[in-house]
Symmetry: C2
Subunit: 400 residues, 2 copies
């Protein structure tokens, strides 16, 4: 029997999934589990998107163009222009989710052994995409006490060496919910320009900005348009995670030409999901107003509720639908597992993602967990109540 | 402006696409182009599959399990059992097309720098997937005069060195249409066992076997079940190329566990297409009988028609819907381009894929082209007639 490559072993387990066996056991034991561990919203997808698939008149489910439907790319360019981002269809390749956009981007821009700097905590799957491309992730630490603001540029510069080829950010951020200001992004712009790096920005939560905050896209940073790679996806915007439609976007023609070869090798992004995604461009503005209003309520219930529990600290994020809270416990990992295995409050418990898996630096985030506030408000209230009760009896609870 | 990685440049252009600018120019000039260059059949997808999507009752287009719907994997296992291949759902990961299955398989089983041996001519995108995984393709040449039968085991053994970790076959074959016999596969089995290699088999054309020939799956080779990785896809079986649903299949638990990490990093295969693919399992047997009968007619028109043209030689394949023909020309690449640029017969011409792009050895296949006989019969007759007329006037025609 041949040996399997160590790559498979190197691949870190996903922090949002590692407790799945315990949640399954909890459910078998009859507990109701509030799933705050995964960013799968319960929000309905736009009717216009699903109806387009229901009413499709095709008889052969054909490949699309490797870059995606031309009409969809044109529609997307229009969507970006409406959002103040000036793009043409030729600067867009439709991908199978934001995931594939990141892989194509990494494969195109970097060589094996290259390094990218990523503010931690970061979306854990960036590790997998980096590993796929053979590059190393160098973390720069954002701190919970700063609300996960951009680390100082001095902190970045300490990490820049000959192998450093890029910076990757997620804005608004998963897992922190932090929304970078224009000022922070301009600092990054100067750094990118100075060291001639690629700047990857995952802006899939663009629509989810709260308290009047406006997202600022890296595409609008002046003077680095050849360095910027924008990653996008319909997953969160339209609550269409299962579509698996994203986009790789750049004004750098060479990057796009090279990325196109990867796109051609895998033939095309999924056709049915492109039909849905193109139709989703017609989603009325009210859909987003309602969704954002709903998330603000959910965030407030979750974050205010958490901060009202003695010893819990949770910065109030301005974007996405995640927050990271620190708990007065010995280990968030043990606490999360204990919640599933050994605890219930009136037959209910909570599943969270231990935050250590979102940090690349060993030992960080050990008292923190990521919470996706993707459930309706009554569930979130009950989930917060569960956590409050749990902390009263958790054996590894720290005294304040 | 940062340098883009050379990887993008190393990626070979796809032989089925490199003439696309010429075909577009031909169409602009008013010519009708018969597209024999790409394996996009005109066959209707099963109604039961498209109807399942039209009638779906979901309101949130959610992620599926990273390995795919459990119900779909169970249904697929049943499909395989019906086809004499004994599998359980846990031996199947649903992927985004056969393409992703190959990438996950290569990433899981091989380390950068490893070598895989592939009989050439081979499906050109294997190059892209190998490059993605950082491995090298070592070709072993199958010859047109042998109808592209399996090269001798001695030829394989000459190429096996310390870096050799696997063999990749496509059966029935794209681009040759060759169907390996049980005897040929058993020779490969012995070789794989002797050198402890992985055997990847792309069997996506399983349903397309002609003249009473039966496909023999590598899954049924005795004694190497821990070495075998099966790649599958719904693209050709149900004429659902645009679904982008495939499968990575192995009885090797360690391989599956490692591959699962790559599957989790990209979250899930497309949900809508899984709904279609699961429903496609209910496709009546008559669908395949009709499709196979249709392809036999198409193959005969194409291959017999080509062989009737003086100086053209085309082995008659027993599977898939491709054939490779050699032409009495200076260069098949120039001939294919000339067909689009400088030729028409009654306003019509033909687009073929020059075969050199399917060979890894430089200089091979230079007088050959791949033809996908995926059009209805009248079109194929006209396309063959075009080629006959073209060869009468092509300036680079060789004298016989």
């Amino acid at each position: 029997m041949p040996k399997i490559s160590i790559k498979g072993h190197q691949m870190p387990a996903s922090p949002i999934r590692e407790l799945v066996p315990f949640s399954e056991a909890a459910k078998k034991a009859g507990k109701h589990v509030y799933h705050l561990n995964i960013g799968q919203p319960d929000i309905a997808s736009p009717k216009v998107a699903l109806d387009a698939v229901r009413n499709m008149e095709i008889s052969v489910l054909e490949y699309s163009h490797s870059a995606g439907f031309e009409s969809y790319r044109e529609g997307l360019a229009q969507y970006y222009r409406k959002n103040g981002i000036n793009l043409t269809k030729d600067e867009i390749i439709i991908t199978t989710g934001g995931s594939e956009a990141l892989i194509f981007g990494f494969m195109t821009c970097f060589d094996p052994g290259d390094e990218v700097i990523i503010p931690e905590p970061f979306y854990a799957n960036y590790n997998g995409f980096a590993m796929t491309a053979g590059i190393s992730v160098v973390p720069v630490t954002a701190k919970i006490e700063d609300g996960f603001a951009l680390p100082s540029i001095a902190d970045f510069e300490k990490l820049i060496g000959p192998k450093t080829k890029g910076i990757v950010i997620c804005n608004p951020g998963n897992p922190t919910g932090y929304l970078y200001s224009k000022g922070e992004l301009e600092q990054l712009r100067d750094l990118v320009k100075k060291h001639d790096l690629y700047l990857f920005a995952d802006e899939v939560y663009r629509e989810f900005c709260y308290d009047g905050a406006q997202p600022f896209s890296v595409m609008n940073l002046e003077g680095i348009d050849q360095n910027v790679i924008l990653i996008d996806s319909v997953s969160k915007r339209y609550s269409m995670c299962g579509a698996r439609i994203g986009a790789l976007i750049s004004k750098n023609k060479e990057v796009m030409a090279a990325a196109m070869k990867f796109a051609q090798a895998r033939l095309s992004p999924p056709t049915l999901a492109q039909i849905a995604s193109e139709a989703a461009l017609e989603t009325p503005d009210e859909y987003f107003t309602e969704v954002v209003d709903e998330y603000v309520v959910r965030r407030n219930i979750t974050v205010d509720g958490l901060n009202a529990i003695p010893g819990v600290f949770c910065p109030k994020p301005k974007g996405a639908f995640y927050c990271i809270a620190s708990f007065p416990v010995d280990s968030a990992e043990r606490f999360c597992q204990w919640l599933l295995e050994d605890f219930d409050y009136q037959g209910e418990t909570v599943m969270m993602a231990p935050a250590s898996g979102f940090y690349a630096t060993p030992g960080l985030g050990e008292k923190e967990a990521r919470i996706a506030y993707v459930l309706e408000k009554e569930s979130l209230k009950k989930a917060v109540k569960c956590l409050e009760e749990a902390l009263k009896v958790y054996p590894g609870r720290l005294t304040l």
